[in-house]
């Protein structure tokens, strides 16, 4: 296994008006293997989205650097494709045009119709090619976003709670679809979530963020075979272990609530 992405000593402090600051991340060191499915787990406001945005190049860290294949990341790049919690489809484009959007931006239009069709089949939206985003459900929209991200042949897929606003049935379906695609395409995934079950269901490794500013508290490999069932004993054991660690982290902080900006 080769190292795909590495975060070295990443810290991020946001500056607010009236000289107030929010220290979000502190000295994050993280190495992600090629083909890994890494899950970043943490509560709301724990800085996990910030970390993902820094890896994508969208946000500059206050300190430290991100490397991909040994090169320092200086800005966003289609090889690290981002997926957001809310669908980010352009409402004036049809499903087809939305999927092709990134490729058209980059002038990569060879066999584009055929490729778009292949992805529409893959996300099971055949027949919806000419629908507008306002005519789709959230789950369908999120699948279109996934197809658009995959069209660029990303080496790394960065997912920011992509299934967070879906009902549990749609979510299970999409987790399964994502796993299938990941196994077939063998790209690297960094997946942010606050859902324990989701993390254990899809991740090959879970990183626990905690504290304020957030640090990596634990790195937990998940060696279960797919498909994983939340009712399995092994699954339950891992879940109990992670929950224990969360409880300990909260006690260390002296509070069960994590409010961003509470630190000086």
């Amino acid at each position: 296994m080769t190292q795909k992405i590495s975060a070295k000593n990443i810290s991020k402090t946001y500056f607010l008006p009236k000289k107030r600051t929010v220290a979000t991340l502190k000295e994050i060191d993280l190495s992600i293997e090629e083909g890994e499915f890494l899950v970043i787990l943490g509560g709301s406001g724990s800085g996990k989205s910030t970390l993902l945005n820094i890896i994508s190049g969208m946000v500059t860290p206050s300190c430290g650097e991100i490397c991909m294949d040994g090169n320092i990341v200086t800005g966003p790049h289609p090889s690290r494709s981002l997926l957001f919690q809310e669908p980010s489809l352009l409402p004036w484009l049809t499903v087809e045009e939305n999927i092709a959007f990134g490729c058209r931006l980059r002038g990569d239009t060879k066999d584009i119709d055929e490729r778009v069709n292949r992805y529409i089949n893959m996300i099971k939206l055949t027949g919806y090619e000419n629908y507008l985003p306002s005519e789709l459900s959230v789950g369908m929209s999120q699948r279109v976003c996934l197809a658009r991200a995959l069209m660029g042949n990303p080496e790394v897929l960065l997912m920011d709670e992509p299934f967070g606003s879906l009902d549990s049935f749609t979510r299970m379906g999409l987790q399964e679809e994502l796993l299938q695609i990941w196994k077939k395409r063998k790209f690297t995934v960094i997946f942010v979530t606050h859902d324990l079950d989701e993390a254990i269901t899809i991740g090959s490794r879970v990183v626990l963020l905690g504290g304020s500013p957030a640090e990596i508290k634990h790195r937990i490999p998940i060696d279960l075979t797919h498909p994983r069932n939340p009712m399995q004993q092994d699954f339950q054991k891992i879940k109990a272990g992670i929950m224990d660690r969360f409880m300990t982290m909260m006690k260390e902080n002296g509070t069960t609530l994590q409010t961003p900006g509470s630190n000086p």
């Binding site: 494709s81 957001f84 980010s88 352009l90 306002s134």
Partner: protein, 273 residues
């Protein structure tokens, strides 16, 4: 139907729209009839006095009769064509200046800060106060009117376009940047299409302002257009014709506005709020 059902119906894209449409048209026509009644009542109260006898042309009866006459008169349609041409050319010039500037002002923060004071200052000036300057700059009245309408409409177009740019969903910009968009692609492929509803609103406002400024601008001394017709009717003391032209101006303005609203309805399907 209880109030919650009504709310859902109003905010849903589906549902029985035709029933509502019928009711709306019925109410709208009743509104017009009420307006004519109020006009007649007010008119009779004033013009029944003997000293105002000459002004009885302002009453609904003679006015509407004259309006029918106008609709078959070629001179009237020539005047409408001249006025519409002025409005459209004026707005076209204003749009070709206001739109690109609006986009740039919305996109680049420094340009926004730089241009804020002069724009706010200039837009507070009544467009008609440029009239003497317009007459100095332009040899023809026609040119002066274009200039006045442009001065009146460039600000609402510019300001609304800027507003549209600032309201673009930041996620779309992040997504496009992540997909590898350059600044120019962000503007052309995300920001401009995303601001289409605002651009339409800006055109609607511009049309309203232009239509209002047009008539006094045509008082300048030009010998065509609806403003000129009003002046002409006053000079010849044909008050029924005068009033009919005023009503016609209202009707044409209403139709123009409705056309833009119609486009807007179609776009609302694509750009839901």
């Amino acid at each position: 139907m209880n109030i919650i059902e009504k709310y859902f119906k109003k905010h849903s894209n589906y549902g029985d729209i035709h029933q509502d449409k019928k009711r709306q048209y019925g109410l709208g026509i009743t509104g017009i009839l009420l307006f004519i009644c109020a006009w007649a009542a007010g008119g009779y109260a004033v013009f029944s006095k003997p000293e105002f006898k000459h002004f009885s042309g302002f009453l609904p009866g003679p006015t509407l009769e004259s309006l029918l006459g106008l609709s078959t008169s070629l001179d009237f349609w020539h005047a409408v064509a001249a006025s519409l041409r002025r409005v459209f050319i004026g707005i076209l010039v204003a749009f070709s200046i206001g739109f690109p500037f609006g986009i740039l002002i919305g996109f680049y923060k420094n340009i926004r800060i730089l241009t804020y004071p002069p724009i706010q200052l200039l837009r507070m000036v009544s467009p008609l106060s440029w009239m003497p300057i317009a007459l100095l700059i332009f040899a023809s009245f026609e040119g002066a009117i274009y200039f006045l309408i442009t001065m009146a409409t460039v600000w609402p177009i510019m300001i609304n376009t800027t507003l549209g740019v600032s309201r673009v969903n930041p996620r779309w910009l992040m997504m496009a940047k992540n997909q590898g968009a350059r600044d120019s692609q962000l503007i052309w492929m995300v920001i401009i299409p995303a601001s289409v509803p605002y651009i339409l609103t800006s055109l609607r406002l511009a049309l309203g302002v232009a239509w209002i400024v047009l008539v006094p601008a045509e008082f300048l001394g030009i010998s065509s257009g609806l403003g000129y017709l009003i002046n002409d009717a006053r000079d010849t003391m044909e008050y029924d014709r005068l009033m009919a032209i005023i009503i016609a101006i209202g009707i044409i303005g209403f139709i123009l506005d409705s056309l833009i609203q119609l486009i807007r309805k179609y776009l609302d399907w694509i750009w839901p709020n």
